[in-house]
Symmetry: C2
Subunit: 588 residues, 2 copies
């Protein structure tokens, strides 16, 4: 928010009483407010834009001749989670800022499940040094599956009210439709608290249509980033919800929705862009929100419209258009200098008036600061983990028994129920490695209950050893898969030793591990290092026979207790549709 | 704002667990959010819209078959003052609600100058009984001309901060450009207080262009309702300001700006409608915001766009689109049933789910409630007013002298300086009735100083008697014009007797008066009565020889100390451009 001093300085500078800091001379301004592109100069003082008036002359400390390049507002990612990139906000900034993304609206539900309000505070604690703006969509589901999982923290209506008062808090994060359709009063309280602060409520309306969608919207939910089909987009706009067109790593909705929006002459003002989850290597390859802008043009959208969607629309949606989202007087000087709108690769990136990136590289890499010690120490095993921790008792002494197996559907976050027959030995159910039915375990890691949920899974095709990961949606206990219990114990214990991360074990010994010390979710290293480390971990997993491209990501989703049909938590196997614990072994 | 109970009831009704109150069957919905018109049914529970989904069946207490008529959101007047209509909000509602205006964003600067925070409180004090929504643009200039006029109250930054916290307060009202261009810190403080509350700042950018406009916008001002020319509209959109297209009684900007917006393909999302000042008789004749919608279509705009401008655009601008501005689930059920979009005459008007008007008439007239006694007692003369109060002393004993005269420009709020020679008798300057140079006086009426400013004016063409009025912009002392001092005294004293209003005197005797007891500005009677009364007053003024159509309105603006070149306040004659008091008589 602007102080009296800041407003006064901006005015006096515009009046010529004080020199500007910066003149961006000879730009073609992409004015997303008036929907025009025209030549002018831009004057900046401190963090603010002073003037965009063509043909005037103000004094400036520094003048940069842009030789007719385009000047666009900094891009906005209207919804994303960054913990899953394994990067700190600082490391992330080093790869997205050169692509022109200067505002991220982040739902930090992962760190909130680990460390609650304190975790969120730690994430927004170093904002002065960040070359981008980190805004908070306050997580609405901490925990996601109350009563069925142990989390590090809980955010109830009281905590949400408190956090919603922070200046960084802009909305209530992706509220699950089932909370509305089953009339859960705790979540309705969170909505009311948010609206009372004149902030907005983000949706998460996967597949919902018709009257269900009307009911969902009627509760005060204003947007959806889970829109996949054109009919869904139109349905959401009709009930008064904005559509965030998502282009992430696995969910790629842009082509279909941009084409549909153009074909159906949709009101583009109610559309924003987001990535939701986009992995560092893909950002490095194709870009971030600038990819959305580029691709939308390839699909036939005018550049100024693609840029409106990528900038001012999100600023308006979050009621922050007085602060950013357009290159207009008084707004923060988030400005991209771009040689070609088709390519959308900024030659210069200014964040709040400061040059932060040039020609795809940071002017100065953002260093990961020293995070508080406690956030690097969030992995605690209440009881020692041994091979015996992963035993699954049978009602039988020997022979065979029928069990419920989680069946992974490749590249989709859907975990089906598979009925399978497994051998029983000495009263315990064994794996069927030949048919790829391996053990899956979720180990409580907040030092609270010591619970270990054990089940069976098909789809990873490991031939030996075990993997473990302290990112396990959304509770983020340790999830492990293995061909033998001793390797699983080694992999899990390694994560306790390194304060979270991922590990690979073979023959009962750890053969590789990668620390993610920030809440057990994120690295405190830079993006380049993290990308190399995860590649190496993937290679090590492959050496166990796993053919998957991203086995750890698959592992982080495979036990989800909220996605049909089967889940697994530290409490045990979950019947997702009936929202209850069920036994692994099927009664005869 | 929605309560938990309200959200819960809306959801449960949508789920079919509770019956709806109302079903509007068989409408053609003008969906201003998706920019479409299509057939459906609308379900309402309490004040809220439950569902607009076509083809579903919910139980409802009452069903109204709309036989394919259009359903539109209630209209919004984005900027207006209603004190100048002489009507209370209740009386005003009886003429605008049947025209479909259900939200007024009112800058109540007149009552604020009279009675400050308490006056504003009294105006928004009876909202439960009002069949429309009264929102407050918190007046930024109380007083308008500090140091040059006596007002009943002052609203400094402290008071603005306080009032901005009220739920009815949505913005800081029309901030004068000179306050920014002369860097007045008090007003910058008011801006900062407003932005800190996530509310917005309304502009008043008369004629400003180029760098001045950039400086003005850079202070955080987001809109302008004083836009007259197409180039001005484009300039405002370029600097990130919304344009409120104004169609009032005297200022009629709609035709030019709508045509210009269409011709220049302006982004219509950044445009709203307002009336600023529209008189009851004109509202009765041609309508209110529905006139703007109708006329815009005649000029070639699509109905759905004209309605977007008249509804959801203003709701978004004021960051209240979660509450009203579209017929979408969860929003307040402000719904117009309209047989023809071209004519925009609602057959039924629902405000917050309640039928309030039908076929151009209120279902039940809103009664003016009993306002607090103190607000009906705001006119106090500190000293007795007699003919002698209006004497203008000369340096000469007799003969002639040269004076500064306020020269009225017919139908424009511009008061020019005229140099004229007047007779001097017994040391006092006399009128020149033959040449229409009459006396003008402003009498302090808050019982504070007893000041009487006296000058000369040309343009009213009174042949005898005097007029007085307790509405005198923006300080609202008593202004009087007269052919003889005795009649002026009689007219002024009458206003003290009737607690404000307007009066006509002849030969030293009052021949007519009309009380405006609410702050000396507004009547506590209904619109019909007020319209008849003012017509009668205008007739009486005509009987004195005044040929003007609206002499009292002219009188209320003739002494304005903020409009070039000459003004008059209770302190004396004002040199507007140099912002100082000057003598009536010119030195030789």
């Amino acid at each position: 928010m602007r102080t009296v001093e800041e407003i006064t300085t901006t005015i006096r500078t515009g009046l010529g009483e004080i020199p500007c800091d910066l003149k961006l001379k000879n730009v073609r301004l992409v004015n997303v407010f008036s929907r025009e592109i025209y030549p002018t100069d831009i004057y900046v003082k401190g963090k603010r834009i002073v003037s965009i008036e063509p043909g005037i002359e103000l004094q400036a400390e520094e003048t940069i001749d842009c030789h007719g390049q385009f000047a666009c507002p900094g891009l906005i990612d209207a919804h994303m989670h960054f913990e899953t990139t394994m990067l700190s906000p600082e490391a992330l900034s080093n790869i997205i800022v050169p692509n022109g993304t200067l505002t991220i609206c982040a739902d930090l539900m992962e760190i909130a499940n680990v460390a609650g309000e304190a975790g969120l505070k730690a994430m927004v604690g170093n904002m002065e040094n960040l070359p981008m703006r980190l805004l908070l969509e306050v997580p609405s589901r901490v925990p996601t599956a109350p009563g069925l999982e142990t989390t590090g923290a809980i955010l109830g209506p009281k905590e949400v009210r408190e956090i919603m008062g922070w200046p960084e808090a802009i909305s209530l994060g992706e509220l699950d439709p089932s909370k509305i359709l089953f009339v859960k009063s705790e979540y309705i309280q969170k909505i009311a608290e948010t609206l009372a602060k004149r902030k907005i409520v983000n949706g998460h309306a996967i597949g919902r249509m018709g009257q269900e969608l009307n009911v969902y919207a009627s509760s005060g939910i204003f947007d959806d980033h889970e829109t996949v089909r054109v009919e869904e987009m139109i349905a959401r706009l009709r009930v008064g919800m904005k559509v965030f067109i998502r282009e992430g790593s696995t969910e790629r909705n842009l082509d279909a929705l941009v084409k549909g929006a153009l074909r159906n002459h949709c009101n583009l003002d109610n559309i924003c862009f987001c990535t939701d989850d986009k992995h560092p290597n893909e950002i490095a390859e194709e870009g971030h929100i600038n990819y959305n802008v580029r691709r939308s043009q390839e699909l036939g959208m005018e550049a100024v419209d693609a840029l409106r969607i990528a900038t001012v629309n999100a600023a308006k949606h979050f009621r922050l258009e007085d602060e950013f989202g357009s290159v207009t007087p008084g707004r923060l000087a988030d400005i991209l200098i771009v040689p070609s709108l088709e390519e959308m690769k900024p030659s210069k990136v200014f964040f709040e008036g400061r040059l932060v990136a040039e020609e795809g590289k940071m002017v100065k890499k953002t260093e990961v600061p020293s995070y508080p010690e406690w956030i690097k120490d969030t992995v605690h095993l209440k009881n020692p983990i041994t091979a015996a921790s992963f035993r699954v008792a049978s009602r039988k002494k020997s022979g065979e028994t029928t069990v419920r197996v989680i069946d992974m559907i490749d590249r989709q976050i859907i975990n089906k129920l598979l009925i399978h027959t497994l051998p029983v030995k000495d009263g315990f159910i064994e794996r069927d490695v030949e048919n790829d039915v391996l053990k899956l375990a979720v180990v409580e890691r907040y030092g609270k209950t010591g619970g270990v949920g054990v089940g069976f899974v098909r789809g990873f095709r490991l031939a030996s050893g075990a993997l473990a990961f302290s990112t396990s949606h959304d509770h983020h206990n340790i999830v492990s898969i293995g061909v033998d219990d001793t390797s699983m114990a080694a992999a899990v214990n390694e994560l306790a030793r390194i304060h979270g991360g991922c590990s690979v074990a073979k023959d009962g010994k750890v053969i590789a591990s990668m620390p993610l010390v920030l809440g057990g979710l994120m690295s405190d290293k830079d993006a380049d290092v993290v990308m190399k480390e995860i590649e190496e971990m993937n290679r090590k997993a492959a050496s166990l026979g796993c053919p998957m491209q991203a086995p750890f990501m698959a592992l982080s989703f495979i036990s989800l207790p909220t996605v049909p049909e089967l889940g697994l938590t530290d409490m045990g196997l979950i019947d997702v549709l009936n929202h209850k614990l069920i036994p692994v072994e099927i009664e005869d």
